[in-house]
């Protein structure tokens, strides 16, 4: 991991005013809604009013969009790689910079909600739900960051957002297709177990990539531990980073902007 690459990534983000404004809105929006809910509702306070950990995905999207692609587009990646740094190190540093920054933002958001809750109801100060929610956010940030870094390594500029949208659209198309196949096999009285199981594998694959969620709040209670999400998370991170490194090492960079 290279500290300079991390710091450059954060500085670059700070220089972009649009992103800073979006980040501020993303940060303040849920907190304002949460505060209004807390103060304006007569119902008893409970930890379920916390914003969903999925918010972390949006923070990551904001931080990670075009994280490598922009440097490819501007031609600065060739300059960065002129330093004594490997592409592997560069990619891992980018992933860490994005994951860390997004985690920090999303954990800060949940921390603010925690403080507001604790002011309203001191009994919630040590509620484990906040800790679980925060951990889930961190995991989501690093998981999603790996996938977005991989997408960003494939294209230049902000085209990775288009790739992400295309991936989501594929998921929608697949769901419609799988539903049709399942209905058809049911209608024709075929044994559709294979189609059902196979379809679920594909669905799980899409879900693991788009939403690498690990239910930490359930694990923290010590009730049960599901191995599937944990394996999926590590697979996603290693596979995406490996792929990004492989793609970039087999790509030629020019000093001129694309």
């Amino acid at each position: 991991m290279n500290r300079a690459v991390c710091i450059t990534t954060w500085r670059e983000f700070k220089a972009n005013k649009v992103r800073v404004i979006l980040l501020t809105l993303l940060f303040l929006g849920p907190i304002v809604m949460f505060t209004l809910q807390r103060c304006g509702s007569p119902e008893a306070l409970n930890a379920d009013m916390l914003s969903h950990p999925m918010m972390a995905s949006f923070f990551t999207l904001l931080w990670a969009s075009g994280v490598i692609g922009r440097e490819v587009q501007n031609g600065t990646i060739a300059l960065v790689l002129a330093r004594p740094i490997t592409i592997a190190n560069y990619v891992v540093s980018k992933w860490f910079a994005v994951g860390f920054a997004a985690s920090l933002c999303s954990v800060e958001a949940v921390f603010c909600e925690h403080i507001i809750s604790a002011v309203n109801c001191p009994a919630l100060l040590w509620a484990p739900e906040f800790l679980g929610n925060g951990l889930e956010r961190i995991i989501l940030c690093f998981g999603t960051a790996a996938f977005l870094v991989f997408l960003s390594s494939l294209v230049s500029g902000l085209k990775d957002l288009a790739l992400l949208a295309g991936f989501g659209f594929m998921f929608v198309l697949y769901s419609a297709f799988a539903h049709t196949v399942y209905q058809l096999t049911s209608f024709l009285h075929f044994d559709n177990n294979f189609a059902l199981y196979f379809g679920r594998i594909i669905e799980n694959l899409f879900t693991a990539i788009l939403f690498p969620y690990v239910p930490m709040s359930v694990f923290l209670t010590g009730s049960y531990f599901a191995y599937g999400p944990v394996i999926a998370l590590f697979t996603l991170i290693t596979f995406c980073l490996s792929s990004a490194i492989w793609v970039l090492t087999h790509r030629e960079f020019s000093y001129a902007a694309d």
């Binding site: 740094i85 490997t86 199981y197 679920r200 709040s217 209670t221 590590f234 697979t235 290693t238 490996s242």
Partner: protein, 433 residues
């Protein structure tokens, strides 16, 4: 950490590639096995496996234990691929407070879906589903001990005004069709969020969001169908009148169960309907024969009356008189309108029947004797009912919160008020006044 100078920019991290390849293989094997080979990876993939602080029973064991201990059975419908089920099992059932409450007050039975394929249900699921008709994957169902052979609609129905969440009886007295099903919002998996708490109780809890809702449900469900059903506003005569010799005034004998939709409907639709209870109080000698569901010892003496009039199922209304050649019987409870027509036709028939040949003196004496007998019987009825109200309506819950919820429906504030209320209902005066 400074980058190594010996490595080129396009250095390939073989270790990372190898780790990625291994993890992808493991994920693929895991995913395929998870879907196609249930039992092989069951300890790893099944979130519903492992130890649980709840002492689960099998269904047969639960049925026999429920009969013995009179505790309600709590069916938990769980599916391993349903997130709400996993959450309820992991977070809710592993909470010590929830587990203690379930172990103390219920006989818990797990109804798991057999496989991931929702078309292939387990035998137990099919058995329970066929009886109660519930199909949701994350659901709790409370079955009181005396209602284990009943259907879902019977479980949901109640003729106790507190249980049925009827806080005023104007609707019932006006003959409006009152939706007395208990807290219908709960059936959709929601609870009241208007700050007033629950309207009442329900045998069913669908979905899971947090422990608080689960605990609320369990606190309420443990008392479901524990309170006696209403007898309406009919001035019932004691049971002994049913066996007394017939008189010229028609005698109405109502055979009802203490549970079940049909009996509950009759209690709420007819015995509370002002049009009906006024007619009954004026024109009939009403006697209520209350059976207890699944209590053969209690029902044995009452079965003779049932056999006398050839009644097979409950509820039923029998009208008999010395003027009638044979008793008139209404089997079941179709609706309040038909029951009213039935009562009116009986009154008409009694009026049209030939009067008994008696001298005026005989008639006067007989009337006096009957009035005295009725007065005595009403006094006995008052004594019985008064003692029953305070022995049965004692708060069944463990804490003060639910004492008020399960208080008698007439909301009397003290014993004197309640006493006068009961006297008024029976048409009597307080002997101490």
């Amino acid at each position: 950490m400074q980058p190594t100078k010996s490595k080129s920019t396009r250095y390939q991290p073989k270790g990372l590639y190898l780790a990625a390849a291994i993890l992808v293989t493991i994920s693929a094997v895991y995913s395929v096995s998870d879907q196609f080979a249930d039992e092989w990876l069951d300890p790893f993939t099944n979130g519903l496996s492992g130890s649980s602080p709840i002492q689960w029973r099998c269904r047969d064991e639960a049925l026999s234990e429920s009969k013995r201990t009179k505790k309600p059975i709590l069916y938990a419908f769980l599916a391993r691929h349903d997130n709400a089920s996993l959450q309820m099992y992991g977070e809710g059932f592993h909470d010590q407070k929830v587990a203690d409450l379930i172990n103390q007050s219920f006989i818990p039975v797990r109804v798991d879906f057999n496989t991931r394929n929702y078309n292939q249900k387990s035998a137990l699921y099919t058995q329970v589903h066929n009886q109660y008709g519930y199909a949701s994957t994350c659901q709790l169902l409370t079955v009181p001990a005396h209602m284990t052979d009943m259907s879902s609609s019977d479980l949901e129905s109640s003729a106790n005004l507190s249980e049925a969440a009827i806080d005023n009886t104007r609707g019932l007295e006006g003959g409006d069709r009152y939706n007395y099903n208990y807290n219908s919002r709960y059936r959709n998996g929601f609870v009241r969020n208007d700050g007033h708490g629950f309207n009442g109780n329900s045998p069913k809890f669908v979905g899971y969001t947090n422990k608080r809702e689960l605990l609320d449900y369990l606190y309420n469900a443990q008392h479901w169908h524990r309170l006696p059903p209403t007898k309406g506003k009919v001035a019932w005569l004691p049971l002994a009148v049913a066996s007394a010799p017939l008189t010229s005034k028609p005698r109405l004998i109502a055979f009802v169960d203490n549970a079940g939709t049909a009996s509950d409907n009759m209690r709420l639709d007819t015995f509370w309907n002002a049009r009906d209870y006024q007619l009954i109080n004026k024109e009939f000698e009403p006697v209520l024969v209350e059976f207890r569901h699944d209590d053969a010892a209690f029902n044995m003496p009452l079965d003779r009356l049932k056999a006398k009039y050839g009644i097979a199922t409950l509820p039923a209304l029998v009208i008999d008189s010395s003027k009638f050649a044979a008793p008139i019987v209404q089997f079941g409870n179709s609706n309040s309108v038909s029951t009213h027509e039935f009562l009116k036709s009986a009154v008409k028939q009694a009026a049209e029947a030939a009067p008994e040949m008696q001298s005026p003196t005989q008639q006067q004496t007989q009337q006096q004797v009957r009035q005295q007998m009725q007065q005595q019987m009403r006094q006995q009825a008052y004594n019985q009912t008064y003692s029953q109200v305070y022995s049965k309506n004692g708060a069944p819950s463990q804490d003060g919160k639910y004492k008020t919820k399960w208080a008698p429906s007439h909301r009397c504030q003290d014993k004197a008020c309640s006493k006068s209320h009961e006297l008024g209902r029976l048409g009597l005066k307080d002997p101490n006044d």
